[in-house]
């Protein structure tokens, strides 16, 4: 709910702005609002330093950058780095992997979080509900290193999963999960689900609590069952939240992850496991070719921006909640 009010207030501010500009800004007014102005200037400075200044580094992508010569004296090479990127089959493969895992993560985590929030909400016993909720979001606070460690152990040939499968006679000998390129994406998606579902559900739960209870009572009087209530009241009630979160997550599709793939990957699955971020690390950092890393990074940012603009446009056209 908090985000809804935030976006609402933003909207009203925007619509008022043209009017405000016509008003004369007097010194008196500035003085009266000096605390607010100073406060916001701090944030503008912060944003400028940490979000806009670093963009200057993008110049590297068009240079043959060497740390010794620095940004100012490295020779310019035009689009050579980009040309190399797009002629490199490995990079094209990483784009596919990044998109694939990103979309898979987005879809599964999105659906599961909503489902989980609704199910939790239907739970009548508050004690159990609280316990389940707490337990389910705890993994969010574990670092990926630990999560991947657990996963690696659980899926290893002497791990719990294989143990169970062997005892149930589903397989005769241990199944090596990490030697199967085709299921790597799903292992990553599963890891994401396990870690983040509980956490992601919190926001939906908050949105659900804000729905007017009178609606449910009215529906009950009209003879609506549980399914009807979920379908006709809960879901439409949290639809704006869903749309906003979906838009924000769509922009994150290319951030399909780094740690999971980096740690769980190995030679055999590398064609399916490497993401753009790993590629940047490999060529940019370890081959000391910062230019190439930057070029790949720019590509990622640009694609992300395009995706988010398109998604926003679609939302706008269909009259839904939107980001900007």
């Amino acid at each position: 709910m908090a985000d809804m009010t935030a976006s609402a207030s933003k909207k009203t501010k925007e619509s008022k702005e043209p009017v405000e500009i016509k008003q004369k800004i007097t010194m008196k007014e500035l003085k009266a609002q000096r605390v607010l102005i100073i406060g916001s200037i701090l944030f503008v400075i912060y944003g400028f330093i940490f979000y806009y200044l670093p963009l200057g580094g993008w110049i590297m992508a068009f240079q043959d950058y060497k740390a010794r010569t620095g940004l100012l004296h490295s020779p310019f090479v035009g689009l050579a780095k980009f040309k190399f990127l797009f002629s490199d089959a490995t990079f094209l493969r990483t784009i596919i992997n990044t998109l694939g895992m990103g979309i898979l993560n987005l879809v599964t985590s999105f659906i599961m979080a909503i489902l989980f929030a609704i199910l939790l909400n239907e739970m009548k016993h508050t004690g159990t509900k609280k316990v389940v909720q707490t337990i389910s979001y705890l993994p969010h606070f574990l670092s990926w290193i630990i999560v991947t460690g657990i996963l690696h152990d659980a899926l290893s040939s002497s791990g719990i999963v294989n143990e169970i499968m062997m005892n149930l006679h589903i397989v005769d000998k241990p199944y090596n999960f990490f030697m199967q390129p085709k299921i790597f994406w799903f292992i990553v998606a599963f890891a994401n689900l396990w870690k983040e579902t509980g956490w992601n559900a919190i926001i939906y739960l908050a949105a659900i609590t804000a729905i007017d209870p009178a609606l449910y009572e009215a529906a009950a009087i009209d003879g609506a069952g549980r399914w009807d209530k979920i379908w006709h009241i809960t879901l439409p009630g949290i639809k704006p939240t869903i749309m906003i979160l979906l838009l924000m997550n769509v922009g994150n599709v290319l951030n399909a992850g780094f740690e999971v793939q980096y740690i769980l990957g190995n030679g055999i699955v590398q064609d399916w496991s490497q993401t753009i971020d790993i590629y940047v690390l490999k060529w940019g950092v370890s081959q000391n070719d910062f230019s190439m890393g930057t070029a790949a990074g720019i590509f990622k940012s640009v694609v992300s921006i395009i995706i988010i603009v398109i998604a926003n446009e679609i939302a706008k056209r269909s009259g839904e909640e939107r980001l900007f």
Binding site: Y46, A67, G267, Q270, Q287, N288
Partner: protein, 595 residues
Amino acid sequence: MKSRRLLSMLCATVMVTSAVTACAPTADSGATTGSTAVDTGDTTVDDTGDTGADTGDTGADTSATEGKEYSDDEIVNWTFFGGMPGSEKNDGNEVMEIIAKKTGVRVKETWLTGQTVEEAVGTIVASGDYPTFIDGGDGMMQLYDAGALIPWDDYIEKYPNIKELYSPAEWDRFRMDDGHIYWANQFGNTYGESKQTTHNDEAFWIQVKVLEWANYPKVETLDDYFKLLEDYAAAHPDDGVIPYTCLCEDWRYFCLENAPEFLDGYPNDGSVIVDTSSGTPTIVDYNTTPTAKMYFSKLNEEYKKGIVDSEFATQTYDEYIAKLSTGNVLGMCDQWWDFAYTVNDVFKQQGLDTQGCNYVPLGLVAKPGMEQMWHTYGDTQNVASGLGVTTACEDPDRAFAFINQLLDQDIHNLRFWGVEGVDYNVDENGLFFRTEDMRMKCADTEYKASHLCDYSYFPQWGGTSRDGKNAMTPTEQTSEFFDSLAEPLVKCFEAYGVTTYPEFIGSSKTKTTGVWFPMYSYSNNMTSSTEGGIAWTKMGECKHKWLPQIVMADNFDSAWEDYMKAYNACNPQAFLDEMQTELDRRVAAAEAAGE
């Protein structure tokens, strides 16, 4: 939304503060350097008087060339990053404190964890937050390119112990294209007579108990080796043995990858074979030789038989070491330093050494009767990496003085032998020896972390001590080596009529390494700035992906063909051409130097 913003602000604050604190100069350095010179005059007199008594100045009195003892506020705290895994020392490590008192320098060492060395060094370069000393391993070029290292040139002349490490010609090989020397390799220097007892190189290793069981047979080829493993495994079906495992995680996949060069009888040039049969040294790619195909097809065959560990392709280094430490793995191909430090200590602690679990090296060849060069005698000078002093060091002169002091005999003894009377004793002839109790303690990880401090990646000597009697390190002390050998090893050595590991592997003494050796010192430092460097990286990726697959392939021949197709698509010729150019350059340089 609010919570997210709060969280991000929190994150930002944490990042800013950590960045600020990380940039702050190391505590209590700087200030001291200026004052030491002034202080020396009066501190020497009263300081040595009382500290000598309370630290129990441990017998090193004989070499009291430096009377000065540094007090706590004079000691600078410096840092070292090692681009290889290592074990950190506890704060207040006893030997570290003794060395700090003698040299005025305390170095906190950190090591590589969970990434490749290029990534770690790349991150350090990108952040600009350098340690005082660094060994960047394969990432040394990155440090040089970033201008992060201080030239050694002036200090080599100034400090005799450093100068002594290499001959002028050898020092010249460290020179970079700008004519300066930026690092010195710490290893492979023998003082006086060589006392080498270990085979600190690659080999096919096998547990002593297997040889004992088979009544010490002659094992010469891959076929012999795997036959032996098969037989032993068949005779011990219930012991949970893993006949053969193979590490192929990340950069350590050399365990799987580079055996063909040795099997063909060549020494460890690392990335290529140098063939001299035609008279002029020529680069040959060992990845595509008939021997390579034979080797992988053998592994494939053994994998199908269940002799090769079914998890080999996905195991991590830690899992691999854990597996070896159980004593269940009969054999593997690896570098000694990659497993021995950890695994041998565990065997000793667990008493597995008395059950014949220790590994001995086998110098296998492709065809019976061939000579091999798994072991190379004499010193190998690896110019690709070494210890560098970074620009983050506020007093380079003192840093080099420290390196110089670490090579003083008394401090060198402290580093490798420990404290006299505690970690070793001296007999009436002046020979150092350890009791069984001392050996046990020195194999204990906890004790090593809190008590011993060898500054293992600072320059050091092998061979004979300056006293002319002892070895520079305990592992090379002949008497110590024999006394510490477990019973099954002694029996095995006797059965084969040898006394040391190098003799055991029995590499050719007539064949010598060329002036270009080792070629890996060039390929290790290639970057994507050249065609060959790009090809080298892609070849690595390709091999990483394909080699485990061809070992596990159902149809080896078709898998091998696919692999060769993928391999040739990486343009290996560009890499080989650059290696040939470097080889020619080295040969020409050696001729010019009159070697």
